[in-house]
Symmetry: D2
Subunit: 493 residues, 4 copies
């Protein structure tokens, strides 16, 4: 029973942890598309739990929990409802506190709740979502409900699910009865990775006939949507929130500037001062990593394929090198390219003893980790997420997170960054739901710049930042509307 | 005699210093559109000469020069030609040395000369240009000639003209005879501010029939072209090189990061450490100023109208304030907005004694300087480009460059930055001249990203920077051509 | 049986975890002097174990270990010796690996082992030590042994003891027989906190008659030594290694620059960008904290009592304020003063909701935590080392580590920093042991600058740093010895 | 008539521009000891005048001035006095304005005037000074007078003398009659370079019998005093203000951080971004240069002889190299060592075309400029202070200021820095004059730390910086006096 009808104004909630992994192919498919978005929803609890390498146990969970699948358990919340599927609904109180803590750093959503209280811009909207289930997602869901929507949710990744939070959502969902999915016609889909879209598309294509649109936040999901669109198979409007300016800058530049330090410290306790570092790729992620490490006293050089980014690197004070030129001297090798085999076995062979290798990029193919799984090399797991790969001569290379994303595996994403994403998603859902007919066709759209600016403005209060308003005279002189948008679409920020 | 025919492969040169100011209206019009591009072509000599406030005497010129207009003098160069109009052709040797010095920092153009030596991509091109006449422009012109073009040039601003350089160009021009303008059919126009375009459009509209296109580098000129295009009056393709990525970053972020320090030091010797600074506007220019001043120990806050830029400011560590909140405490007020009346008389009234006020933005209306020209205030010129405006109670505000662009008036633009611009112009001319028919219509175009990347790549050698090349496998994985372009058009860098 | 005789050239080891806490007064005394040095010896394992708030279980230990005191167990190592007292000698192999990992980052000590191999500068030296027992300490001890010394060790703090490492030391100690302590005449004492010195002084005063000296690394221990000296009761030379230049810079400036970020991230996942921060105290620790936070985009102001440090703060770009002026706006309050009640209850009352408060200073009295233990406030432990203190109106203040040192409790010290300290200690022991009679009297000495320089030089190879050597002519011109010391004693670095 | 008696409370002034250069040996001697202090007193006017290479004409002077020596002219000021020797007393008004402008940035001295107005701590003091004569010195002199002193002054360097300021001092001096020098018994000497001390010592040794002491600010002068002291020939107390903490940090770290940028820009317009730079010497001056250039995007490496400074360099993110390893790649070579032949002819031979070489250190022997004066090399003066040295193969090295101090020659010292020095001098004079007998013997002393702190505190108001005061309880806890000193003498800041 996947998509039951909701009673108005209350949250109906169903956690189907297994949805993506119902069969073996699905799982493989998911692993083929490791999403950058994946890391976005990581919460503290997950990060802690993940220290024992992909255990699904969240930090506050009873780790001796029986391993019965949630699907096979029947649970009842305090209102008597059983219309949910979570690990242990009794953890609800614990999860509620996590949600409350998250709310403190997500004042943009809280403020959105207040501003829209009278009008309820999502009144009547039925939204299904498939995202990481974390305290921050819960704040988003409860905001959508406060704005009038009916919501039903599922997890896009069982390993990232905060079970207590799921329990809290199941508890307050207040589901009273469950109708067959055919009765539920979601008007909007909020997706992260494209799995839900794919599933609905395959199993309930009719749903799309009445739908207002899809909001997708992940690189992978967006990629899938563009493919659908190219193939002429996209039958609803879709909003690509992944490429909104505000989200991009926070996901990549600002967030990675901090998480590179955090991830390295938590795993290796390395001292940054004086370390020789090469950062492969000087896009936004690379810029963030370089800026942070330089500031902490590392000696940083970069590799680039794009001459414009390379020239930026020069101007920012980084030597632009080929990896082979410097690989022998480096203490730390970081990939931020989104490409494959950026660090090859040959280069791993030439690294010096103790060199740390990690990946901050998009894919987990940047470091050729597969090539290290060969008989002459010994792997030694020294800590969670930290392997020493040992050469026959005793040389050790320190490989973090087995080449997967360091910030996914070994760091947490600040709630504030998740707030940017969640607010962008909420506004995209509101825009799609309220847009006059014809504004959006069966295509993939970027968030209108004005809404992007609105997301930013909702977050300024966190910093006690005071915007200046244009006078009428100034607005006229600049040819701008006083309320924005303030920049042409091609503006580069 | 404006546009004489050229003999093949040699440089014909004519300096018409008065072209823009032939009548009073033109002059006013020019002053109405003070171009940001203006500052780009400033050379050292100009900057020095300008220290006595708009004197036209360049540094190496004999300042006791008679004031006869060049138009009224007949001069002959060493080859016997008189087909030019410069202040004093005898200064040629001095100017040649300046050109040679400039060449050392413009290796991108020199390299372009070499790479294209065999093919002469501009063979047959007749180019007329109207730009600042500086050593750097001379390197550009001589590069165009080396690539096969015939060139004829004029100055867009008599105050920025390096007369020795003009003399050097007149000397080597090798003009042997002069035919009426009707014989000259320039296929390409290189303009800076749109004056030449306007003049040809008005006086010789037939020229455009056969022309391959216009290359325009200034904000003002580009604005005029878009207006022509909107009005359906643009009858040749035009290339907007002002908005190419590489040029923008260098003109604004990288260049202003240095020139704000330079301009302030040369005028006021202010110590940056510990100074309270407000920077109005956190676009590229503002980002450059803030970054430099913060690094030198100033305490910087910003004002913004755009919430996205404001949020960037927060993340970069700057308090976002309204000007009125902080104006009383500031030691230094810098405008970078492009807007008008950003600093009002009321705010000037509230500044503390000794506060320095200057403008790094686009227009010279950012500070309401006009309001300071009132009887109760005393102006005291303490140094070139530095006025003390004195209130009745003795308070002094230090106004730089009378509110005009600080970097135009009180600093010089590094040759390297001019090299970026000149190379971009050269490539735009080559592109327009060689484009297959139909690629460009009667519209305004941005430089193709691939050529923007090529400009960047030509400058990497200055930094001994080594680009990484994609392997075939990687290119395929990324869906990229190995030679670029490497980014989608909307990429924000 | 505290101080048995050693056989030459091998390590005799005894872990008496309870030594400091043999009686109630001692324990109280220890707690009265929480030493900065304390944090220096923290290893990764400890930090992890300490996440459940002062459990003594190290990370790799079997947490279900029985709670029998090591004193009451008789254990035997693989050589048959029982002359040690550790938790569980069977963990030796695990500890050995930790030691080997530490050796990789302590190449200075390894290099010292090699350089001094022939001469054995500590041949004949009997050294007793009382320090934190960590992998890094083990590398130091085994270095001393390699240089010829006989060593016997005890832990200065049971909570910081890495039990596996203790086991490894017990295993390789190779003790064959145990003689009464009266037979053991240590010539040198290496102390951390002064407890061992105090104990020997009280119980075995005769030991000091033949001793070459005491090497003390902690602020507290040094303070005690100066008091003894003032009182005329110091009867051996003592070396204050705490105040050596190299150690100071690394312990305070360089280490805290990184650990402030690490400690805050691990406990709160706070995003630094845009946060308003006040750092109380702009000494070396404060300078490190400010520099790091500024670089990561925080908006930092400082408080100071010393006008010279305050002026440095200005020049470095920080507003110098009184805490009361800014306390309402701050997101983060960090103390680095060594003083008491720097943050008062009144100020805690005025903080905004969500403000984070922590201590990086010397004492744990900087924040008046005691005042928060009052009935109207609710304490909620949200994570290990993180308490929410909740005011009646719902305001929460986030208190880290209950006001104890953040870097002690919530971060780890890089092995490289511990290497600086350990090398300094080793050289001080060598200096005292080999100094000609009369060079050191019964007083407290700083490490000779030349040895301080030597410590630094031993660490340069970690960075592939190449020193320049003075030519004879240059040395003469500067009036310097080519081998140093290179600076006068009062040089400030 | 060198040292006439003064009437009480008024300023007597005598400018003896030739004093150091009265004969050839003296001149040579002066040149042998090029003082770092020299650059400290440079004012804007000087810097401008020096652009035509060691002209003595100050900027506002009539450059067509006759070349009669001031000594041979008899001039009379408006009060009828002729007891002075300046270039042209009629420039007084101009100089007075310069003094007034300087006063605005020297509020510490103005504040000292006010605080001490009642007590006149220098009442009765007769002070002779020999320093650079600039607007800032004038503010110092007039402060001493305001505090009760009688002053008589002379210039330590005719090339640094601001003649208008000298005129202003001559004008307001109000000398009414002139007595032979034997009648003048200065109690205090303020010296810069030691020339006046040397002269008095040689010619009027009896003066020292009654003198309270000497205050010396230059490296050279201090060196001379220590030599005198060692030789047992120092017969008055002397105060070494050069090594006071506050002065040192401002003269070296903070000032050079800005002047390296300023000096390079004014001479070469070089763009800093991406430039490869080697800084020889990582003391305070080198730290300042490195920090500024790194912040502006240069890629900086350093050379060092001292392992402690080298390790600091590593931690601050700079590669530590030998000059020979990198010399071929550098765009910019900067010396900050105080040593000789740091850059040798051989290294100059290996530099690449266009490399810029300059000296920020103490002596002018750091670059072996003499070796460049050989027949095979061509020197070309391209601008004031900028020479191209041209190798036979056409390679050019850009030598700034002929290897003399860049900040002396090509930059100006902010008034704020001069204020620190002047205030330190004033306090040293007050201390020596008021010290109880016996506090100072015939030796060289550092300024008491408490007065150093006082200098700093007087400058905090420039930054609106608010010091925190210790509570009684805190002062007791720290063992400090609430009014300072706050640090032990060996504290390193």
């Amino acid at each position: 029973m996947l998509l039951p009808v909701y009673t108005t104004g209350s949250l109906r909630f169903l956690l189907l942890l297994q949805i993506q992994f119902a069969n073996a192919e699905d799982k493989q498919e998911f692993q083929k598309y490791p999403t950058k978005a994946g890391r976005r929803s990581l919460s503290r609890s997950i990060s802690q739990s993940s220290t024992d390498s992909y255990s699904s146990a969240a930090s506050y969970s009873d780790s001796s929990d029986d391993e019965t699948s949630p699907r096979d358990k029947v649970q009842t919340n305090s209102t008597g409802s059983s219309d949910f599927c979570v690990k242990n609904v009794k953890q609800a109180e614990f999860g509620r506190r996590e949600i409350e803590i998250a709310e403190q750093d997500m004042s943009a959503l809280i403020s959105l709740r207040k501003r829209a209280q009278g009008e309820k811009p999502l009144a009547g909207a039925k939204i299904v979502g498939c995202t990481h289930i974390t305290a921050q997602t819960a704040v988003l869901i409860e905001t959508l409900v406060a704005l009038g929507a009916q919501c039903r949710w599922t997890a896009c990744n069982i390993y990232s699910t905060q079970n207590e939070v799921a329990a809290a959502l199941a508890e307050t969902g207040g589901v009273t009865n469950t109708l067959p999915h055919t009765c539920f016609s979601p008007c909007s889909i909020l997706d992260d990775g494209g799995d839900l879209t794919h599933w609905v598309y395959k199993k309930y294509p009719s749903v799309f006939k009445k739908a207002r649109g899809i909001v997708e936040e992940s690189v992978t999901g967006v990629h899938r949507l563009y493919q659908l669109s190219k193939a002429g198979k996209l039958c609803v409007p879709a909003m690509n929130v992944n490429d909104s300016v505000t989200k991009q800058k926070f996901d990549n530049l600002y967030c990675c500037r901090e998480s590179i330090l955090d991830g390295l410290k938590r795993t290796t306790d390395v001292m940054f001062g004086g370390k020789q570092v090469v950062v492969c790729g000087y896009g936004e992620v690379g810029k963030g990593c370089c800026s942070a490490l330089k500031a902490l006293g590392s000696i940083v050089c970069i590799t680039e394929i794009d001459p414009i980014c390379a020239l930026q690197g020069c101007m920012d004070g980084f030597r632009v090198v080929k990896l082979n030129e410097v690989i022998r001297q480096m203490d730390l090798v970081i990939t931020c390219t989104g490409n494959k085999n950026v660090v090859t076995r040959e280069q791993l062979d030439r690294m010096k003893n103790g060199c740390i290798v990690c990946n901050m990029g998009h894919s987990n193919t940047e470091i050729d980790v597969a090539s290290l799984r060969s008989p002459e090399l010994t792997w030694e797991r020294v800590r969670s997420q930290v392997d020493h790969v040992i050469w026959p001569d005793g040389k050790r290379v320190v490989l973090l997170a087995e080449g997967r994303l360091l910030n996914l595996s070994c760091s947490t994403v600040p709630t504030f960054v998740l707030s940017i994403t969640a607010t962008t998603q909420a506004l995209a859902l509101i825009e799609l739901f309220n847009a006059p007919e014809g504004r959006y066709k069966q295509d993939v759209y970027l968030l209108p710049k004005k809404m992007d600016e609105y997301v930013a403005s909702l977050h300024l209060s966190n910093f006690d930042a005071h915007l200046t308003e244009l006078s009428d005279e100034q607005a006229k002189y600049m040819g701008l509307n006083k309320n924005g948008p303030f920049k042409p679409n091609y503006y580069r920020y």
